[in-house]
Amino acid sequence: MACRLCEVGCKVEHSEHKHVIKSFKREKPVARLLVEESGPLSFATQCRHCDEPACMFGCITGAITKDPETGIVNLNAEKCIGCWTCILMCPYGSITRTNGARPTAAKCDMCPGREVPACVEACPNRALVLMEDEEPAVALEDAA
């Protein structure tokens, strides 16, 4: 429904302070998912944790890896040098750039350490649901 609370939840989760007010006021956190809107249609898009992740194929530093156990495609910001090849490779437009002096690529990491990703938890309308063992780790409904 395009409230974008998922983005807020994601930003906070991926901030230093992990506090909704402090994170926003002290940092410029970036959401790893994006709500797209066009008239009444809206949906959130984020990394599909593809079986064959083009971003990983394209990553020049080896910063992007796919965990064979969980299927999660991870991006190691420490290794990333910000060449944006992954952004060009991702057909879903699901990789973004962090703010700051040395921006790096950022993407959905399925919120390690959380039972339910922050975006799913933040969604007030169950438009975002976590689906286990399905091909896309996080599937989205139009909630139309």
């Binding site: 249609l41 944006w84 437009g93």
Partner: protein
Amino acid sequence: MKTFTYAIIGNSVAAIGAIEAIRSVDRTGSIGLFSDEPHHVYSRPLITHYLAGEVSEEKMLYRPPDFYERYGVQAFLGAQVESVEFENRRLQTAGGESAFEKLLISVGGRPIVPKIAGGDLRGVFTMNTWDDAREMKSYLPAVRSAMVLGGGLTGLKTAEALVEAGVRVTVVELAERVLSMLLDRRSAEVVVKQFENQGTRILTGTTISEIRGGECVESASLSDGSTAECQMVVLAIGVTPRLDLVQDTPVRTNRGIFVDRRMETSVPGVFAAGDVAEAYDALLDQNRVLPVLPNAYAGGRVAGLNMAGGERTYDLGASVNSTTFFGYPVVSAGSSAIEEGAEIIEGDDENGYRRFIIQDDRLTGFVMTGEVNRAGIVLDLVRERIPLNGLKDRLLDGIGLIDLPEEIRHKKLRGGTCCHEKH
């Protein structure tokens, strides 16, 4: 004599792509990897960043130090393969002979070194390997200014690295613009501007005619007659596939090693991928040598899957490039520099320059600078040959999944395979 189920010559991205692919299917078949370089697999594009001092030694590694062990690879590093007997399925290194069932040649390319007077002086470098970068780095204390020959990607990234290392740099490019394979005139100007902002001169339409100095480089003369003082010359006019191993063998070559859609050479069981291969370009619908990292990985992966008994075809090959110059992003894809008979949509604002090339209502290539977020959605339009219909007007504003035709959008929202290889 050891017999490997899979032998791989070369130790870069294509090789890793193959290894990871093989191991996703075959956990036991033996893999032997032969590389003339002594290093653990490292990221070749990072060598300029290494030179600039941005990237540490350990971050140069493309895969973790335990990679070979974890993937069950017997790695022969610093072991140059001297020859291959394709009929007998043998390969020779200085250390001995090995046999193989399937072979991948992913030896990459080597820099083209032009014949220039003074080209053998100390201070003349090429930029292709980690060792090249190391040598250059150790030479840097003697360098105040440098001249880079070649305004291609390697030349410019090297120039950028040298600037960041505190060196005054002049780039010399024979063509009328830099990055002429990737960019059009205006986007090339955008790039040049980034260099000029750093005080770097870029000279086009000229070349180095002579390098002067005693033992070491002291100056260089250009074909326009001018001379400039410099302590270093970097030759970066391009790379050419390393074909030594297949010269006069049954392996068919053209500009590179010719491979079919399965990445297999004319010799069954022998595959090639990466910068050495002349593989299929899905956008141009023809084979060509495309030394781009994502293609190397994808090609290596397809080769690996097929080596391990799979049936995959390579459809991801395309001219795609994303890089930054002094932090300013520049991406290009497809026929971005080709524009005959095409419709061009251009925009230039605070978000950067964008250019879209359209033929028969299909996007065939584009360039974006500055704001490049979601460029992958645009690339997918090119790859999937999606009819633009009303999308044309939206290109400059930035396309989201929501703008795509419903059927394609739904597929994307549900799907998650990402890669366009045909299953």
